[in-house]
Every structure is written in C-alpha cells, then in structure tokens.
C-alpha cells in the first residue's frame, strides 16, 4: 500500500496535528507498512457478520435525566490554560 506525504498532510489536518517534515516522511513509510500488514484482514469473509461495538451486548444504558452539580468546579477551572472569571477562554472563531 502506498501512502504519500500528501496523504499524511491530509490525515494530519483531520487530526489537527502539526508534523515536522521529518515526521511526515517517517509516518508515510510506517503507515504504508502498517496498512499493508492490515490488508491481511481482507482475507476474512465478513459478508454476513455484524460488527461488535460492545462485548457485553449492552445497548442504550439509560439513567434518569437529573442534573447533578460537580462538587469542585474551581478544580476544573484551575486546569484551564486561559480563563476569565468562571469561563475557559478560547480564541475568537467567528470573524
């Protein structure tokens, strides 16, 4: 399987990862190798097989829709790199 540096650029953009030119080159080669190895999976016939997302077969585990106040809001806010009052500060995204 061939993965070009252009492919790597595209995936890195989707993943919001800034990569150095050396990393791009390295990952292009390594990902090609790993995906090549994964092509083994095409040998398995899965035409009538349902996917497994949860091994216990749990579905739609519900709870009562009751709001609960977190006991230590300040502890969460303290972790934010940038804050103002009780808000986490984010750069402007709308022009």
């Amino acid at each position: 399987m061939n993965i070009t540096e252009k492919d790597v650029d595209y995936i890195a953009e989707l993943a919001r990862l800034e990569l150095t030119p050396a990393e791009k080159k390295l990952y292009a080669g390594q990902l090609a190798g790993i995906f090549g190895w994964m092509e083994e999976l095409n040998k398995a016939d899965t035409s009538s097989i349902a996917p497994t997302t949860n091994v216990l077969g749990l579905e739609n585990v519900m709870r009562a829709d009751i709001p609960v106040t977190f006991e230590d809001r300040e502890a969460i806010l303290k972790n934010a790199p940038d804050r103002e009052y009780d808000f986490i500060k984010v750069k402007k995204v709308i022009e």
Binding site: E18, E23, F35, M38, T46, P51, E71
Partner: protein, 472 residues
C-alpha cells in the same frame, strides 16, 4: 516481599501501624527506585495522612477495611483528586485531577494507602514503557531489559517490593505482558467488571483497570475491592454469579492450536516453561484438550485498527484549551495543531494518524467496520471454545523481557509482542498472567489463563493451586 493480606490482618489486629508499614515501603522506594524508575511521583504527604487516619481508626476501635494500611500504587492514567495525572505525556503536564477514579476510591474506602503514581507508555500506547515522555523504567529482574508495558511502572514497583499491590490498565495486554516480564501476577478483569470512571480513555471498548500483586491471594483481594457497578460508567455492570468451578481436578483446559502454530517465533525458554506449566496442572488433575481459535491470525491487525480509531477520537480532547499544555498560535486551529504536535510523542501521533485514517471518509468501511466485524468472529471463536473447556491456557508473551531499544525502530515488531494478550480484550474475557518460571539467564516467564466473562474465580483457584504445589 510483604503480602497485602498479611499487612491488613496485622494492622487490624494493631500488631503494626499503617504509618510504620508506609515508612518501610517508602524506604524501599528510596533505596531502589533511583535505579528502577517505577514511580513518576511519590504521594508522601497524602499517603502519610491516610496511614495516620487508618491508625486513628484502629486506636478508636472502629472497623477497618479489607486493605487496611496496604500501600497501593496507581498507574499515571487514573485520577486521584488533588494529585497530578499525566498519562506519561507532556500534553498533560501540570494537570491536577479534580476528582477521584472509582477504582481508586474503592481502594481508599477499604483503607488502602495510595503511595504514588507509576510510569507508563504515553497514553498506555506501547509494550515496553519506553514511550513514557519522562523516563525509562527498568526491569527489576534484569535492568538491561524493559519491564514491559504499558503499565511497566506498576509491574516494576510490585516486583521489587515497593508496594504489595498496584493498579494498571489493560487495553491489549498492558497488565499481563509487564506482569510476565517482571514476574508478578497480573489480572485483566472481564470488561465491565471494574469502572473506568476516572481512567483516562485510550480505547473505550477495550480498556479495563486491573491488578498487579505478588500472590494470587492479594490479586483476588484487590480485584474484589475495585470491582463494582458504577452508574458513572455506563459500560460497567453488576458482577453476576460465575460458573461453579473450583479446583483443578476434573477441569478442562483448552490449548489453542493456532497459538502453538505461531510459536515458530516463540522463544525456546518460553516453550519449555509452558510445557512445565502444563505438566504441573496435569498433576493437579486438570485435563487438557486442543481447541481451535481459527481467527487468531487477524487479532493483532484488528486490534490496532479498533484501538487506534477509538484513541484518535478519545484523544481529541487534548486541544490546549481545557487543560495541560497550551502552545500559542495565531488562530484557534493553530493552537490545536501546535499543542498536539508538540505535546504528543511519536507513538501517540502514529496511532492518532492510523486511527484518523481508518475512520476517514472512504476508508471507514474497509478498515474500522471491517475490523469490528472480524472482532465478532474472534469473539465467536472463544464462545465456541468455551462450550468444550472451562479455561484456556496460553503463554503470556512469545519471549521474556527484551532489551531497551530492541524494538523501538520497528512499530510492527513491537505490536506483535502482544499477540497472545490481545484476543482477550477483543472478546471481553477475563485474563490472568501468573509467574510460570524463569529463563536460564534469570528473566521471568509468565503463562496466561483466559476465562469466560465473569469467571475470574476459576483462574484464581487454579493460580492458588499452582502456587501451593510449587511451594511443596
């Protein structure tokens, strides 16, 4: 090596104080950890406060918990309120947990003393702890070798007597493989039996918190403490009654023929120790049957697609906005990209790329969906096998602990070292690695029991019988 069960008994009987127990273990850490590097941080102050509180309870004659005064280490991906959690990553540098993980709280509720947080592969991605952003951890049995991973710090701490119990997490073998490499017991409980609330998510459908200890009894005790149904983790369940199986006599143990077939690459010493383990179990009355798990060859690539896809989604939260590292940039998207580019290490970036690609438009069906379907086939293999056997026995790893740097340049070689441990996570089974022997040059070798979901008890009973037989 002090046993947790013994410490708890003596603390309850006021024969020793929890503070004295803690001081002894802190001394061991000071003597040994400079060389081993198991811990990222010792919680000396909070641990001493906890130990004193346990002693006060004892002095007042109040009832004490099942882990009274037992020092327990936690892997650096479990939250403990007021303490740092970094997941072995620079991207979480400075993060202080605002709440405590349920499994850790369960330990505290039974009067355990949380002694520190242990080193790990960054975000639990790795099999040697070499991917820690902070430092290497050395194998106590041979310091030229890795301790395994990703819970390498927890394994090394328990193996060198720094604490009798440590928690780890196991997504594809991250407890059982380091347990085998370091010569301890390592339990990967049934998916859903231990709450993942407060465990930093790697691959949510596979992650499970489990236990390292130096005896079967301590492993079983710690598991009974951390296992609980938690409304805060919707994938955790009330532990049901397992099958009534105890004692090796008459038990049917399955040996997967595909695992033996893949043993061309298996170390001769592992093969020898595995054969000895079979003989010991036969002497105890167990009957061995060959079983077939025909989709075994697909397990490792299936795992790397499922785990990396889930990781690429879970790790989206590390964006430089809410916590940890934040690198300045002109626009918000630059903050994201620079923070993630600089904060994540090479293996984490590789897996995010792998997962993002597998989930991307045009490739989802070919990779992620395909892998989830093969996961169904792998699970069915085990369902079929367990119709005929009570437990499955396999080597834990194809080789004993390898040397530093031996596999770092070849990600595929590193991935393949988890070949015997991965299927258990894909199928949601219970798995236990136990010390089975040592290589000629003194490196520990483990073997692994696999049991049906919620049948930890049968593995514990076999493990205890083997340990008793070895002492005779």
């Amino acid at each position: 090596m002090e046993k947790a069960t013994e410490i708890a008994r003596q603390v309850k009987e006021k024969k020793i104080s929890a503070a004295a127990v803690l001081e002894r273990h802190l001394k061991t850490i000071k003597e040994k950890d400079g060389k081993i590097g198991a811990f990222l941080e010792i919680f000396e102050n909070s641990a001493m406060a906890q130990a004193r509180a346990v002693d006060e309870k004892a002095a007042k004659g109040l009832p004490l918990g099942r882990l009274a005064g037992v020092p327990v280490a936690i892997k650096d991906n479990m939250l403990y309120k007021g303490h740092k959690t970094t997941c072995g990553s620079k991207i979480l540098e400075g993060y202080v947990a605002p709440y405590t993980a349920t499994a850790v709280q369960n330990l505290i509720d039974e009067d355990a003393v949380i002694i520190g947080r242990t080193n790990m592969d960054e975000f639990a991605m790795g099999s040697s702890t070499e991917n820690s952003a902070f430092k290497p951890t050395r194998n106590p049995a041979n310091t030229d070798c890795v301790p395994g991973g990703s819970s390498g710090g927890s394994a090394a701490a328990v193996a060198s007597g720094m604490c009798p119990i440590a928690l780890g997490s196991d997504t594809g073998g991250s407890i059982r493989q380091p347990a085998a490499f370091c010569g301890t017991y390592g339990l990967k409980p049934t998916y859903g039996s231990v709450s993942r609330y407060g465990l930093v998510a790697f691959a949510s459908s596979l992650d499970q918190i489990g236990v390292f200890a130096n005896s079967m009894e301590d492993t079983a005790l710690a598991f009974s403490v951390i296992s609980s149904h938690d409304p805060k983790d919707s994938t955790s369940v009330e532990y049901p009654q397992g099958d009534d199986l105890s004692g090796a006599g008459g038990l049917k143990i399955g040996l997967p023929k595909e695992y033996a077939a893949g043993s061309g690459s298996m170390d001769a010493e592992v093969t020898r120790v595995f054969g000895e383990t079979i003989s010991r179990l036969e002497k105890l009355g167990a009957k061995f049957t060959e079983i077939s798990l025909p989709h075994t060859r697909y397990a490792v690539p299936t795992y790397y697609i499922v785990a990396s896809s889930e990781a690429s989604s879970n790790l989206g939260r590390f964006d430089g906005i809410r916590y940890g590292l934040s690198v300045k940039g002109a626009a918000l998207s630059d903050v994201y990209k620079k923070t993630r580019g600089q904060g994540f290490g090479p293996e984490v970036k590789r897996r995010i790329m792998l997962g993002t690609y597998s989930l991307s438009s045009g490739y989802y069906d070919a990779y992620y969906l395909k892998a989830q379907k093969i996961r169904t086939l792998i699970k069915r293999d085990f369902d079929e096998a367990f119709k005929n056997v009570d437990v499955i026995l396999t080597p834990t790893t194809p080789s004993p602990a390898f040397k530093f740097g031996e596999k770092t340049s070849d990600p595929l070689a590193m991935y393949l070292s988890d070949i015997f441990t991965i299927p258990c996570n894909l199928a949601g089974l219970a798995g236990l690695s136990f010390p089975a022997g040592v290589s000629k040059d003194g490196r520990p070798i483990g073997a692994q029991f696999l049991a049906k979901p919620f049948n930890e008890a049968v593995m514990f009973s076999l493990g205890s019988e083997l340990a008793r037989a070895a002492n005779l």
